[in-house]
Structure formats: structure tokens, C-alpha cells
Symmetry: C2
């Protein structure tokens, strides 16, 4: 059970978009070039973000994507769920109903105890992702990344932002 690489890409792209000046857009091409990933496949991830209403898109030249809300209001969970979907990581097929001793009249009350425990862990994972916003990520990045690299990167991005 491993998350798609699109999740990684989407998170990195959101980071870049969060650093964009208000109202500016950045194209898929620029994002793909910056991260060294295939443009056409990256566009799938961005489409997922767009469908989830996390980013706005514009057509035409100097078009592209921008965050639809402030970075402080977008959590990691938002991005992960946009790409991976909101379904739980554990699905219960209710195999307990195959128990040969089970009377046909018997009707289960509530979900399987095993499923409940698995879903609880799933919720813990989501809660952890929900607690971190893009703004918080950028704050730690600003501390970790050398100033020169940070500046040259935002300059690179700005030159391509429409």
C-alpha cells in the first residue's frame, strides 16, 4: 500500500503555487520543468487538484494554475485526498457473514469490530495530515533552504508566472 507519486508531485506543486504573488498563474509546463517530471502526466495531478477546487485554472497564453484559497486554509489532507480520493484505506467485505454457524435470520448490528479499529487508525492518519497546512510547510522550508537558492527559485518561477 503505497501512495501514488502524483501525491508527491501535487504537494510540491502546491508549495510552489503558495509562493506565487497574489493573482498570478503558473503553467503546467513550468511546474513540470521545475520538478523534472513529465508535463502531460503532471497535468493529471493538477486536474485532480482543480476538480477538488484547491486550485483555479485559466486557459490561454499566460494561463495556468493558482491556489484558490490562502495557503493557511489548505491542509496536506486536502491535497492527498484530492489525488488519492476520500475512500478509506481499509474496506470491510464483511466476511464474517460467511460464518457457517451464522443463522440466516441473524442481522449484523453495526460494522465489523475489526473494520472499526482499522478505520480508527485511518482517521488518525487523516487527522495528522489535516493538522498541517501549506502555510506551515512554507514556514519550515524558509528556515531550511539556503537564502540564495530560495531567492533564485522564486525568481525563476516569477519569470514564468502569467
Amino acid at each position: 500500500m503505497i501512495l501514488k507519486s502524483q501525491v508527491e508531485w501535487a504537494l510540491h506543486c502546491c508549495t510552489i503555487l503558495a509562493g506565487l504573488p497574489n493573482g498570478r498563474y503558473l503553467s503546467t509546463k513550468a511546474l513540470a520543468e521545475f520538478h523534472g517530471v513529465p508535463k502531460e502526466y503532471l497535468s493529471k495531478a493538477l486536474q485532480s487538484l482543480s476538480q477538488a477546487k484547491l486550485v483555479d485554472s485559466t486557459l490561454g497564453p499566460s494561463g495556468g494554475y493558482r491556489l484558490s484559497r490562502p495557503a493557511a486554509e489548505i491542509s496536506f489532507l486536502d491535497v492527498v485526498e484530492a489525488v488519492e480520493g476520500k475512500e478509506r484505506t481499509f474496506v470491510c467485505n464483511n466476511i464474517r457473514t460467511n460464518n457457517p454457524c451464522r443463522p440466516k435470520s441473524y442481522c449484523e448490528a453495526g460494522p465489523c469490530a475489526i473494520a472499526r479499529i482499522m478505520w480508527e487508525a485511518d482517521e488518525a492518519w487523516r487527522a495528522s495530515l489535516r493538522s498541517v497546512t501549506l502555510a506551515a510547510l512554507i514556514q519550515t522550508l524558509e528556515k531550511e533552504i539556503p537564502v540564495t537558492l530560495w531567492q533564485s527559485s522564486s525568481e525563476w518561477v516569477l519569470n514564468r508566472a502569467g
Copy 2:
């Protein structure tokens, strides 16, 4: 990103094995019949449990599996990791190194900030699974399952235990 159905099967099988009297074995065939799943494929899940040293196996007639430790010392995480592996659910491909502005001399210090956050959530998931033992599961099951069904099931199992 969805867990294999083998995880569900393994958890249910461990529950049955945990209810077995000390030293008794239960065969793959009986476990498969009880849960209504294909015997040969279920055996893969049980082999994973065996490789992870969660269960002991015996060959020959009246052979099968039993827990290798008390149910109170086996957590959900043990079972899940036995089947799914211990790898983290998020893999960092370090695409930050593709940044065109990055000087070649520059060497990253420590893992990517995005990966760290994803791994923290992964750890929260695992911690939640680690906190629940098979013994605790059985305790809740005893409360929820009707006494008659509980008894007839353990009788069914005992008749097939070697």
C-alpha cells in the same frame, strides 16, 4: 491506496486462532471454509504471518497454524505489517533535486520537509494500530456477538482443530 483484502483475512484468521485452546492447531482449509474465501490464496496470507513469526505451523495431518505468542502480545500493526510490509506509505523521490536553480555543489541536509510530514502521519497510523491487541479485539467481540453464535462458532472450530 487501499490495503489488500489479505489484511482483512489475516486479521479475521488471527482472531479465530486467538480463540483456540493452548497448543491446538487449525488448518488453512478450516480457516478458508469458515470465512468463505479461497483456500489456496488464503494460504499466502497465512504464509506471510508465518514468515513474520506471528504464527507457528505444523506439517502433516491435523497440522495447521496457531499463534506463536499470547493474543495480548500481538497488535493489529503486527498483522498489518506482516501482510503489507513495513515500508512507509509515502516514498520521497527527492524531486526537489531537479530544481533548475539548484547549484550542483549543494547537498541536501536531511529528508525533504514534505516527506517528513507525510511520514509523521504514517507514524500516527501505525501508532494507532500498535495500540490495539488481538486480546482487546476479542474482548469487544465477546460483548457484541450473541452468545449462541459465539458458542456454536468455537464448537465448529474445535471440531476441526488438530
